[in-house]
Subunit: 337 residues, 2 copies
Amino acid sequence: MTVKLAIDCMGGDHGAKVTVPAALDFLRRDPDCSVILVGRQEELLPLLGQAKQKFGARLAIQHASEQVAMDEPIATALRSKKDSSMRVATELVKSGEAQAALSAGNTGALMAISRFVLKTLPGIDRPAIASVVPTLHGHTYVLDLGANVDCQPEHLLQFGIMGSMLISALEHKERPNVGLLNIGEEAIKGNEVVKRAGELLRESGLNYYGNVEGDDIYKGTVDLVVCDGFVGNVTLKTSEGLATMMSAALREEFNRNLLTRMAALIALPVLNAFKRRFDPRHYNGATLLGLKGVVVKSHGSADVLAFFCALEQAAKAARNKLPERIAARMALLPTPA
Amino acid sequence: MTVKLAIDCMGGDHGAKVTVPAALDFLRRDPDCSVILVGRQEELLPLLGQAKQKFGARLAIQHASEQVAMDEPIATALRSKKDSSMRVATELVKSGEAQAALSAGNTGALMAISRFVLKTLPGIDRPAIASVVPTLHGHTYVLDLGANVDCQPEHLLQFGIMGSMLISALEHKERPNVGLLNIGEEAIKGNEVVKRAGELLRESGLNYYGNVEGDDIYKGTVDLVVCDGFVGNVTLKTSEGLATMMSAALREEFNRNLLTRMAALIALPVLNAFKRRFDPRHYNGATLLGLKGVVVKSHGSADVLAFFCALEQAAKAARNKLPERIAARMALLPTPA
């Protein structure tokens, strides 16, 4: 199925230097897609080379005169920058000219602008952000990752529904199993919000597994782990910190003296295979869920490969009609008394 | 300073087979300490060998006829097992016969029994559990780890005070710096409870650093990270899961074929040094804080070395008068209006 992506080319730490080459790679690899590069025309054009001739109508530029800075207050981004590349990209989804928007810019601003421009689906109180983490022989989806810090049980139920539909769209797994992140397996564990959320999930008709604990995320016990945005954000950042620390320590041990450095040389292919296996670039792309349109957030520091992976994900979510899936599943919920 | 420890010898996955040898090691290494082994006399006596002659009055046995099971409901442990080894050990602290109690048993039961027998210090609403995690070149204390899942801002302030006093007692660092676990550095970030807790910590006179994020735990940005028990428990379990997964993946890569297995042989001393560096046995021992007495919880699966490390920690906390430090610091807080 053909799909058209609107790409905020100015966002992220590296801007057009990364987003444009990634978009061109994507056009080369996926002959059924087209892209609209959104940003300052005078910056984008010189990066295109022969691409315009090569891809013809599959490659378009939409000029946008402004840019949301990485540290820009959300209110400013939303109210005073109406011609930002981020905003124009989401408006292209709103108008139906594109089926998905992608940005490596400021997360808070992207969420606020997407919500303002696209609106949430019926029954969804708050959009959420989902990401995927590697397990030993697979991966696990986790949401929410920071969009919602004060959650009610109903929000966690909505996260479960939105995450399940994301997995069905991206992985063709029709009934992914859903775990609720908690501090023990028993249903009586946890704080009041989580206990009630467990009841709602149990009655939801989702493939609900029950409570899972922190270590289940990397064990791959379930396809989807649901938690509030505070816990999700802390959990993922802690994981980043631990992985960085362990890698640094391993490097230190291999650098200790001449003998260990020789061992490092011999072990290098193995260490590189290990590194490739968990290469975070392949996991780039956090989907904003619950909007009337597909929006994917790339990591701000993404390189060309990482941004390319996020583009692939956005195309897949659009092709498999993620918002429609969520809307249809939400409509099955009993109306609150 | 001489110190006497009351050891619940029956708790944990391995019971007396681990706790008794660890206690004897401890008597050998620390000539200023004595221990009371609490448990079924008929099980403990055969494990002592010549120890009674060797250590004389430094080694005593206190018979306790019952044992709290690892999966025993807290209410049963508290109400129906009044002669459990866990309870008798805490009662020895209450009566002043011992200066610290140690158990590898059921965490919830240990917390409930300790609270019931010893009571909390003035101004402390709820005891907390603190643990320590390794960083690249040091370590960070984290609390709470699961005792308190629904926290008010005042509880997080109390955790900051109790944790600071723990570090001053164990590390002789008089003004450890304290970070509040949050989802961003700015004071406006986070949920309502955390925002208010930040204000209380800022006014507390503690060495308050401000907000820290998940990755700061393993960066060692601060000496103490304060969070509610839900977040703390999830964070630590997620870390365990990730470390286990990374180790398993590294093992898989080194086991892939003949060539990689040869590389593993050569890299073995380096890999072992890496493993030793983060050996969790050296970090065993989570301190229960806020009680009128020192109680330390060992990991249930602790071996002799791990249990020994927890004994060392309990002795240090008792010698440096941890409860008295917390009580004195709490008395400095302004009385609520």
